[in-house]
Symmetry: C2
Subunit: 283 residues, 2 copies
């Protein structure tokens, strides 16, 4: 049986470090502040945002939620973002997805100041990531959290064959950049890939972020591989389940994340960590 | 024998289109202008810059070369770039590599306005490329030129297995992004990769950009593959040669670029094309 990569436990450790960093910043007169903007009344979004808020408050981060009506225009939203960009007490800004159809998500992403980009989605930050810049800049929280997990579980990255299933801007692409920067051989496979298994079966590190429940089974995994499951799907009984079939996969993998309790908690912990980093870097 | 991908011929076609576009822009009162900044007296750089200048002038592009002494400070260079950023008659700016050691190349890259970034190296443009933005933005000329070659020679990209050898910011990384955006399965291999041949032998499209003469031989290539050689090395007799051993590779590949006469001419043609695009987008 594979060793379990316990995201919940690791998130606790990361959160404790974040709490400590917040305490230190406060002694220097800096109170890290995160603003989360939510447009409309999507129920899942509300729950996510409430969880982020609660976690921020637990860690001593000043967290503000700005709830906007679902008919908010793009101009209004961009104006609000600009106000927070100018506000020196705010260190991190994020806009909860999904956004109503009248708003262009890419434009919102570009509007958030790169220095306050809690999600790491601004093209300037993405470009720095991709070019492996040695400056300080924020990075998409899910793949950044996965890097923390790999480090905590002593997974060798340099020279490893890393395969990423899925090419989203939030997970697959920044994950590829982070692993390439860390000197893995990196392959990105996706819906157009022919014979996906030929790639996944060779992976020393397999990251799965497709939104397709149980796409990856034990037979698709190299024995001893590290398997990271980014999926968060509901099965027919409403139970949370991953993109990896845990039961068969955990018999083949060397290390594996569960769903829930794997990548999820680490993503929120990383958002908190990154908010505090933004506050530090703003000094 | 493989079909030859004739970069010299294709560059002529692209240049003819660029010349036509310049003529059209001039009827609208826009004269595309490219500024090339060169710091110091590196002989190879001077030749590159002279060739760029000559080509620009042939195509009707207003081309200015700014030669700075090799002891130019970073502050002076950034100030000059800013002047060109402000100058409305200038559409494209590029700074020739290599730069003297007192100058931080990454800082120069960030200083050039994204809207005038003829080389496509500014992080904001890199981020747009990597996130597959649907806006207009410049892209690193060598990989952009390779995409033009693949299209001209009817190479199927979506679903193909593309392997890139080398992970530089100028070629390997933007090449990976372009091919991923075009729905290839993309693998980046590099100096830390174990058993490189295991990857190259499976590639339908193989892009080689390592600076190691004849790294890739016929036996490393999948029969029928398209092989793009970005290498520009001098052999013991001073003759220009690629990263691919053309003699053995051309017996296995389906399509292959020669060196010289492959990627090289397309890079300059793409720089000219992109300068004119920047002028168009500035309207």
């Amino acid at each position: 049986m594979a060793e379990l990569i316990d995201g919940k436990q690791l998130a606790k450790k990361v959160n404790a470090q974040t709490e400590q960093a917040v305490t230190e910043l406060k002694t220097q007169g800096i109170e890290p502040k995160l603003v989360v903007i939510i447009v409309g009344d999507d129920e899942a979004s509300r729950i996510y945002v409430r969880n982020k808020n609660r976690k921020a408050q637990q860690l001593g981060i000043n967290s503000e939620t700005k709830q906007l009506p679902k008919d908010t225009s793009q101009t209004e939203l961009l104006k609000l973002i600009d106000q927070y960009n100018q506000d020196e007490t705010v260190h991190g800004i994020m806009v909860q997805s999904p956004l109503p159809s009248q708003i262009d998500e890419a434009a919102v992403t570009r509007a958030i100041s790169p220095a306050k980009d809690a999600d790491g989605f601004n093209p300037e930050n993405v470009g720095k990531l991709y070019a492996n810049s040695d400056l300080n800049f924020p990075v998409s929280c899910t793949p950044k959290g996965i890097m923390t997990m790999l480090a905590a579980y002593d997974v060798q990255i340099a020279g490893a064959n890393a395969v990423i299933v899925g090419r989203s801007n939030i997970v697959g692409r920044p994950m590829a950049a982070l692993l390439l920067n860390a000197s893995a051989t990196v392959t990105v496979v996706h819906s157009h890939t022919q014979n996906m298994q030929a790639y996944t079966r060779e992976a020393d590190i397999l990251i799965v972020a497709t939104g397709i429940a149980h796409l990856i089974k034990g037979e698709d995994i190299k024995p001893g591989a590290t398997v990271i499951d980014v999926g968060m799907n509901r099965d027919e009984n409403g139970k949370l389940t991953g993109d990896v079939d845990f039961e068969s996969a955990s018999k083949v993998a060397g290390k594996i994340t569960p769903v829930p309790g794997g990548v999820g908690p680490m993503t929120i912990a990383t958002l908190m960590q990154q908010t505090v980093e933004l506050a530090k870097w703003s000094e």
